[in-house]
Amino acid sequence: MRSKTQKWIRHILLELLGLLAALLMIMPVYVVVINAFKPFKKILTNTFAFPDSFYLDSLLYVWDSMNYLTILKNTILSAIVVVVVAVVLSAMCGYKLSRVDDRKSKVFIVCLLASMIIPFQSIMLPVYQVVHRLGQSDNLLGYMITLVPLYAPFAVFVYHGFVKTVPRALEESAIIDGCGPFRVFFQIVFPLMSSTTASIVVLFTLWVWNDYTLPSLLLRSAQNKTLTTAVYSFFSSYYTRWDYGIASLTLAIMPITLFFIFMQKYFVSGMVAGAIKG
C-alpha cells in the first residue's frame, strides 16, 4: 500500500515539475509579450506584473513607424512564393532523379546533397554579387528567386527518398491510358506525396520567416524589408526604449506562433524529416 502512495506522490511531483519547466521555457517570451501592453514606466517598475490596463500605444506606434503591414505583406508574400516555387520544382526534380536512376541522376543528387552542408555565410558575398549583377538587388522578387535554390536541395532530397515508396504501376497504367508525363506527375504522383509536401511547406515557411542574413544583404530600402530585418533595425535604434523595442518583438513573434499552434502536427513531422537529411 505504502509504495503505491509513494508512487502516486512521485507521479504528482513529476507532473508539477514538468509543468513548471514548461512554463519556465516560455517565460521570456511571455514577459516580452505582456510588457508590450504596458507604458514605459510600468515596464521599468513592474516588469513581471500582468498589465493592469490594455495599453496599446507602443504597439500602435510600432505598427505605424515600422510600416508593419508592408513588412508583414513582404514576409508572407516571400514565404508563399518561395514555398510554392521551391516545393513544385524540387518535387519535379526529386521525382525524376529517383525514377531515372542512371549515373547522371546519381551525380546530381550527390551534388545537391553536398550543397546542403555549405553554411550560407561562406558564400554570401558571391551570392550577393550574382544577384546584383542580375540586377535583382533590393528587389523582393530577386530575393525570392535567390532563396529557392538555397532551400530546394533539401526538398529534392526528401522527395527523392519518398518517391521510392510510390508504386510505379500507377504511373505505368496512366501512361498506357495516354496520359502525358506532366499529367502523370501533377495528377497522380504529386497528390500521393501530400504528407511529405505538408511537412516541407511548414518547414520552408519557418525558414523564410526567420531568414535574416540574405534579406539584410539584399533588401536595403525600407519598403522592401522583411520582419527579421525590420525588427533588427527597429530594435537597434530604440535600444533603451524598451516599450517600442519589445512591441516590435511582439509583432514579430505573434504571427509565427499562431501559425505554429495551428500547424503543430506538421511542424513535428517536418522537423524530424529535416533531421534525417543528416
Partner: protein
C-alpha cells in the same frame, strides 16, 4: 514506351540551373576571391596566391573567433544533447502535461535567432534588474552581456534555450521507435531504471544521437543571427563567432579577399564535420 529525352530535363533543369547559378558559381567565386587582395571597389584586384591564408595564421582576432566558435561548439554540443535526451525522456513518460511540455520546449525554436537575441537582451537587462529589486541575491546582479566571460555563457544559454526543443523532437522520435518489449523484459529480469537506460535505451537511441551530435556541431559553427542580435560580437571582440567574423570582414571592413579566405575556412570546417557525420551514420546503418 521510352520517354522523350527533353522530359527529363524539363523536370530536372529548373532546380539544377538555379543551383549552378546560386551555389556552384558562388563557391568558385569565393575560392577565387580568397586568392586576391581586393577592397571590393578596385577594378583590378591583385592576385596574391595563398597569402590571405598565411595571414590568417598570424591574425590574433581570427584566433579569438576560432577559439570562441570551438569553445561554443564543444559546450553547446555536449550540454545541448544531454539536456535534450533528459527532456525527451521526461516528455516521453506517461505524464498528463507531456503535450504541453513538448509544445513549450519547442516554441523557442520557431522564433528567429534575431528576435530571440533581442528577447534575451531585454531579459538580461530589464528582467534581471526587476528580479534583483524583488529578490536581492547575487545571481540577479550578474552583468550577462557586458562582461566577456559572462557574454559567452549568455550566448550559450540562449542558444541552448532555443535549440533544445528541436533536438528533443529528434530524440523523441528515436525513443518512439524503441520496442517497449525490451524495457519490459529487462524490468522482469530486475534491471532498475538507470540500468535500463544505460544498457537498452542509450544503445538503441544511438542513431538519433549520431544525427543530433553532428547536426549540433554543424549548427554551432553556423551561429550567426543570435550572435548579431544578442552581443554583436561584444564586449570588444570577445564574442565574435566565425560566421560573424566573415560578415564583418566582408561588409564592414570591405576586405573581400581576406574575408573570402575566412569564408573558405568556415566552409571547410563545416564540410569536414558533416562528411564525418555522413560516413559515421552510414557505418552505423550497416551495423544495425
Amino acid at each position: 514506351m521510352k520517354e522523350k529525352k527533353y522530359v527529363y530535363w524539363v523536370f530536372v533543369l529548373p532546380v539544377l540551373a538555379l543551383y549552378i547559378i546560386y551555389f556552384i558559381i558562388p563557391v568558385g567565386m569565393c575560392a577565387y576571391y580568397s586568392l586576391l587582395d581586393w577592397n571590393g571597389v578596385n577594378k583590378s584586384p591583385t592576385f596574391i596566391g595563398i597569402n590571405n591564408y598565411i595571414r590568417l595564421f598570424q591574425d590574433k582576432d581570427y584566433f579569438q573567433a576560432m577559439w570562441f566558435s570551438a569553445r561554443y561548439a564543444i559546450f553547446s554540443v555536449i550540454l545541448g544533447n544531454v539536456l535534450a535526451i533528459f527532456v525527451a525522456l521526461w516528455v516521453n513518460s506517461k505524464l498528463r502535461v507531456r503535450n504541453m511540455m513538448r509544445t513549450c520546449f519547442f516554441l523557442p525554436n520557431i522564433i528567429s535567432g534575431i528576435v530571440v537575441g533581442f528577447v534575451w537582451v531585454f531579459i538580461f537587462n530589464q528582467g534581471t534588474k526587476a528580479l534583483y529589486s524583488a529578490i536581492p541575491i547575487g545571481l540577479f546582479q550578474i552583468k550577462w552581456l557586458s562582461d566577456p566571460t559572462n557574454a559567452f555563457y549568455a550566448i550559450l544559454m540562449v542558444s541552448l534555450w532555443q535549440s533544445v526543443g528541436y533536438y528533443m523532437l529528434i530524440y523523441l522520435s528515436g525513443l518512439n521507435s524503441i520496442d517497449a518489449a525490451y524495457q519490459e523484459a529487462a524490468a522482469i529480469d530486475g534491471a532498475n531504471g538507470l540500468a535500463r537506460f544505460r544498457y537498452i535505451t542509450l544503445p538503441l537511441l544511438m542513431p538519433s544521437i549520431t544525427i543530433n551530435l553532428f547536426m549540433s556541431t554543424a549548427n554551432a559553427f553556423r551561429l550567426f543571427d543570435m550572435n548579431v542580435s544578442l552581443t554583436n560580437g561584444g564586449p570588444g571582440k570577445s564574442t565574435v563567432a566565425l560566421a560573424l567574423d566573415v560578415y564583418t570582414e566582408l561588409f564592414s571592413n570591405s576586405k573581400m579577399g581576406y574575408g573570402s579566405a575566412k569564408a573558405m575556412i568556415l566552409l571547410l570546417i563545416v564540410m569536414i564535420i558533416t562528411l564525418f557525420q555522413v560516413g559515421y551514420t552510414k557505418k552505423r546503418e550497416v551495423d544495425l
